[in-house]
Amino acid sequence: MKAEKLRAKVFSRRAAIVAGGQAALFAGLGARLYYLQVVQADRYRTLADENRINLRLLAPPRGAITDRFGELLATNVQNYRVVIIREQTGDMAATLARLAKLLAPDSFDAARIRHDAKRRRAFVPITVRENLTWDEVSRLEVNAPNLPGVGIDVGLSRHYPRGAQMAHVLGYVAAVSEADLTDDPVLQLPGFRIGKRGIERRFDARLRGKAGNSQVEVNAFGRVIREIRRQDGQPGARLALTLDAGLQAFTTKRLVRERSAAAVIMNVHNGDVLTMVSSPGFDPNEFSAGISRESWRRLMRNPYSPLSNKVLQGQYPPGSTFKIAVALAALEAGITVGHRVFCRGFIELGDRKFHCWKKGGHGKMNIQSAIRESCDVYFYDIALKIGVDRIAEMSRRLGLGEKYDSDLDGQKAGLIPTRAWKRAVIGSRWQKGETVVAAIGQGYVLSTPLQLAVMTARAVNGGIAVVPRLALRAGAAQPDFPSLGISAAALRIVADAMDQVVNHYLGTARKSRIEDPAMAIGGKTGTSQVRRITMAERAADLHNNKKKRWRDRDHALFVGFAPVTAPQYAVAVVVEHGGGGSKTAAPIASAMLAEAQRRDSARAAETIAAVSSS
């Protein structure tokens, strides 16, 4: 029994040790629990909230764009799409087969949908097809009982009611690319669209608005359990443009008769661009929906470059329209109306002959008749007298060769050559012959149609540095443009000459005149060569435009203003390879100015009628 007692004693001692050990380990558990739940509580609380709370961005609706009278140019339309939720649909294949009967079977890709459905979680809606028509929506609604798990989602997509007419001005919206990413989180939303060109890009920040957000509780699989908090975003601001949609439509219709052309009308006093059309255009709605590869390829391959806005980006030799700048430079440099030059059809400079467009010559010319009849020889003479740098200086004052600090997106600068420019860029001395060529807007000189309109506007608005703009500024916020410091007399002489171009019986654009004296226009024609005419061609009369391939024909240009008595509008029209400015471009410009003024008086009459009837 002694052994038995000893055994009990050993057991008791060891059991006590085990019990003690257990107590110590339990204390360790308690301490760990305390550490996790008290000391580290805040940290884990945060982690738990991060786990369960998801911040979802709510995309703000994009601001509408209107013309100057409030007509909608860009808006958002509801875009209906069919979605299918795997876990609710049961037999996916059967549901898709039924869907195929209701929608056109080839309008969606069943294999792609099944593939998507397999890769996503069962409760995530898979898009079957976007951009449903009303007809399709109602057909789906009627058949809803047979389509378990099929739903219709409504999203917003950008819509341009006037399609191609506004394409270049407005630009378009498209998916966010890597380069567009900023710290605005809304850009990361799938399917979010931002402005890619034109007004949509320029005013993207204003049109975009601010994203709202919604805090939702999600479970471990990402399924939304409930919404905790919601903060609505700020919709994008509405933006009014200076454009007149009616005039834009008119201009577009007029330009589509040409293969490739650009036209712009601006207010000479405040710079409001009333119409700006580059033809051919494209349908920006295709971009909002996501353009197909086929359409994109077609646009890229089109030789008339529908994607570029030629008003801002087409750089053309201005031809004789440049004589406005040369004439003003000469008058400011001391050439007077009394200065006369005899045009016998060409001048000789060293061993080179420079021709006037009129084979037999114009005879005796002064500055006004030279503008009126577009005598090249006269301008060769005065250009050589004043030198290229004075011409360049005046061109700059008139707004050529520069990009405007304005809201017109994607401008090209054009080119106004000087001696210094040639030394720096070409690396050789300026030649006198180059001054002669520059005098008639050829050679190095390049300008955009917009710049030509600005030049014209500045020449007839009393010599103030008007800058074109597209965003309408209401009431008091009219800009105060500085004077260009050109003498009123010089401006008067050039404006009168431009009047004669259209309204004098010898004027180069007399066929495009407007008879109504209150709406009469003035202007200047231009025809610019796109390639040098060889002596042989000149001898064989091969430079006759009708015989050339389209690509080799001259550009037709016209700049003008109206009304002659109190200028309001400046116009510039360029018809690429259109032949002669007087024949092709002037009639278009004339029609545009007539329409612009007609619309003005029609509106005035309406206003009077509205005031008197109320």
């Binding site: 057991f11 085990v18 558990l29 305390y34 739940q37 884990y44 609380r45 909230d49 786990n51």
Partner: protein
């Protein structure tokens, strides 16, 4: 069940009177907490877990009392039978076992699935207690007498290890070693074994196959498997920590109810409890377990027979290991092993096994003064 001989003319009613009802009450309390947590885990539904758990507990309670009322000498005389039976089941798993999550642990018995390794933990205690009871105090000092009990431990350890279930294998090794310790095996022998293991590891390690090494490494550091076990532990710690001092409230644990917490109805049920009831809930549960274990130890100390002492203490140690390993695991202190929280986690086998174990403890208590000879004869 009632084949046991009644000792000293005690009648059944008298025996029932003898049952330690406070212990039964504690067990009932713990199981009830389990029902509540399972109800919460099912987002406020009795099905599928809580109701089934209650039914199993009801059955287990009857089994426990039945085992408790059976004469302790019966258990002594037939101590190797349950051991042999459960060991056979364990071997059956090897042949007929049902595979879940890459491991064969379950026997599919149509009505429910049995995990024999849960039973083995307690039948092993029974067998070891029987063996050491018979042994003279002097014999314990002789190494050759330790071969049999070592063999008793090694058999299930090897079988379980093959499933593979390294966690349970180590669990049994630890439990067996603890019984060796309380049986009076000298401390230097433990030191020798520990030393031998330390020497053996670098020798055996290179002999293991790649997948075996991988298995051990993953067991030791779950971060190697961040997709699953690492994620589980992180989410468990987040759930625990976010519970704070007072918890998020019954059925309001976001980690549990939004499914961030895996296995909330089984291995990670303590996490859910601590998330919903905070530090107070967690410590409260630890306290209840401490009381339960204290009862077991007290019963062991009070018993006059070595068999009773070893049996009660052995069961207590096994239950302690369950509680400690499970809770330490969910708090990120130990590797992740598939081990339930006794009386609380969903799972019929573990519930029945633990209740059966306590049935033995009750039997020890009811027959605490029974004198038992070396072979179970009345002393």
């Amino acid at each position: 069940m009632m084949h046991g001989r009644k000792s000293g003319g005690q009648r059944l009613m008298g025996k029932l009177w003898q049952v330690n009802w406070t212990l039964v009450l504690l067990i009932g309390l713990l199981a009830s907490i389990g029902f509540a947590m399972l109800y919460s885990a099912a987002n406020g539904n009795l099905s599928p877990w809580a109701s089934r758990q209650m039914a199993i507990f009801a059955v287990g309670l009857v089994v426990m009392l039945a085992i408790g009322l059976v004469d302790i000498r019966f258990w002594l005389r037939h101590a190797y039978w349950p051991y042999g039976l459960t060991l056979a089941m364990l071997a059956g798993v090897e042949i007929l076992g049902k595979s879940k999550g890459g491991a064969r642990r379950w026997l599919d018995l149509e009505i429910f699935q049995l995990q024999p390794s849960e039973f083995v933990k307690f039948t092993l205690v029974l067998a070891l207690a029987r063996y050491f009871h018979r042994l003279n105090f002097d014999d314990i000092g002789r190494p050759q007498f330790l071969l049999v009990p070592l063999f008793l431990i090694a058999l299930p350890v090897v079988l379980v290890q093959r499933q593979p279930d390294l966690g349970t294998a180590l669990f049994m090794l630890l439990g067996g070693a603890a019984i060796f310790f309380i049986a009076g095996v000298r401390l230097w022998k433990f030191a020798v074994v520990a030393l031998a293991i330390m020497v053996a590891v670098p020798v055996v390690w290179p002999m293991l196959k790649d997948y075996q090494q991988e298995r051990v490494l993953t067991f030791l550091s779950p971060e190697r498997d961040p997709g699953d076990k690492g994620y589980q532990i992180l989410q468990s710690k987040i759930a625990l920590g976010s519970g704070g001092t007072f918890g998020r409230g019954f059925m309001k644990g976001t980690q549990s109810h939004l499914n961030f917490l895996p296995e909330r109805q089984t291995d990670f049920i303590f996490t859910m409890l601590a998330e919903e009831f905070g530090l107070f809930g967690g410590l409260g549960l630890l306290g209840l377990y401490a009381m339960l274990l204290a009862y077991g130890i007290a019963i062991a100390m009070r018993s006059t027979s070595q068999f009773g002492r070893l049996l009660a203490m052995g069961v207590t140690i096994m239950v302690f290991l369950y509680v400690f390993i499970n809770i330490a695991m969910v708090m990120g202190m130990l590797p992740v092993v598939g081990l339930p929280l006794p009386l609380i986690s969903r799972g019929g086998t573990a519930m029945l096994a633990v209740l059966g174990g306590f049935g033995l403890v009750i039997s020890v208590y009811v027959h605490r003064d029974a004198r038992i000879g070396r072979h179970g004869e009345d002393g």
